[in-house]
Amino acid sequence: MTIINFMSNLAMPLVILMIALYGIIEKNTVFDDFIEGAKEGLEIVFSILPTLVGLFVAIGALRHSGILDMMIRLIMPFLNMVHFPSEIMPLAMIRPISGSGSIAVAIDIMKNYGVDSTIGKIASTIMGSTETTLYTIAVYTSCVKITKTRYILLAALTADIVGMLVSVGICRIMS
């Protein structure tokens, strides 16, 4: 634990240090390069801000109108069929669309059912092994103004479902 803790604490400073050292050794104008890159970062944030506002409102509405809970109740029988714990369902549904939202839901689940319980471990594994798929696709396609995304949603969401089912399975078997 302490080693992994140390390593994850070390990763970021080490990367920055190595890059800065490399720049100095190769006699580059390091700070000018930095500023140039940082300015570009500014533009990126401003270009994705409208996307964020639009998506957040839609997701907030979905959660607070009660329709998300209703949908979970509807598919409950199916969940029971594949032995997918219904406690995890809110996380499974929000994971592809919202990073901060899914962190909030995951923390909620871990607090309620115990962080070291099987449910808590399933929630952790899902958080670690999947991404905010819809958000990623939206940001990556909208930054180059692409509207025809072909079959990307199908491929990415299939993988998410497989990842979640495996998370449930392996946590059940191994703990």
Partner: protein, 197 residues
């Protein structure tokens, strides 16, 4: 895609709220969401500027070339369309390196940069190319070695063993990656035959 999903979300949740009497929570949720979006953008602003700056320094050194060489076999295999384009290969490999190291905030700006370069080569400007598709699919996979965020959350909630899930995460990630690749290949071959999905 979002042109269909976004209105669907809005129509579904707004009409449900009207019929179930959740209008007041919905109203506050709308304004809460907009300010959430702004505060997230501001949180992102600092880290994205920082990482963009750092990666720009790296971009001017030979470091990236060395790492790109390491990733070259994988990139050749996954992105056959761009074998000739060294610049895009470099940007893709930087994005992959940031992902593997768990630097999510660094990976996104790098990824967007790669997308923009790939768009320049794109003949049909409104449609994803095979390379872009593969690239986004890789970015929707969580390929980091150590799931630092989850470990941090588990630690803060007082877990006896916060890192106990690392192995589970690896297994689930690999299974999802295999599924992703199979589905991608399947859809691709169906698409080639001219069927619209």
């Amino acid at each position: 895609m979002l042109n269909k999903i976004w209105p669907a979300f809005i129509i579904l949740s707004f009409s449900y709220a009207i019929f179930s009497g959740n209008l007041d929570t919905l109203n506050s949720a709308i304004f809460q969401s907009t300010s959430d979006a702004i505060s997230l953008s501001f949180d992102l602003l600092g880290t994205i500027c920082l990482w963009n700056g750092i990666m720009q320094i790296a971009n001017r050194t030979s470091l990236v070339d060395k790492l790109t060489n390491l990733l070259k076999p994988i990139i050749y295999l996954l992105f056959p369309e761009i074998r000739e384009n060294k610049q895009i290969q470099k940007e893709i490999s930087m994005n992959m390196i940031a992902n593997i190291l768990g630097l999510g905030n660094a990976a996104t700006p790098l990824g967007l940069k790669a997308m923009k370069s790939m768009q320049k080569e794109n003949l049909k400007k409104d449609t994803l190319t095979d390379s872009m598709l593969m690239f986004i699919v890789i970015n929707t996979a969580s390929i980091q070695i150590i799931p630092t965020t989850v470990i941090a959350i588990r630690n803060s909630l007082g877990s006896q063993n916060p890192t106990s899930i690392v192995f589970f995460v690896w297994v689930a990630t690999i299974c999802a990656a295999v599924a992703r690749n199979n589905c991608h290949q399947m859809c691709h071959s169906i698409h080639e035959k001219g069927v619209k999905i």
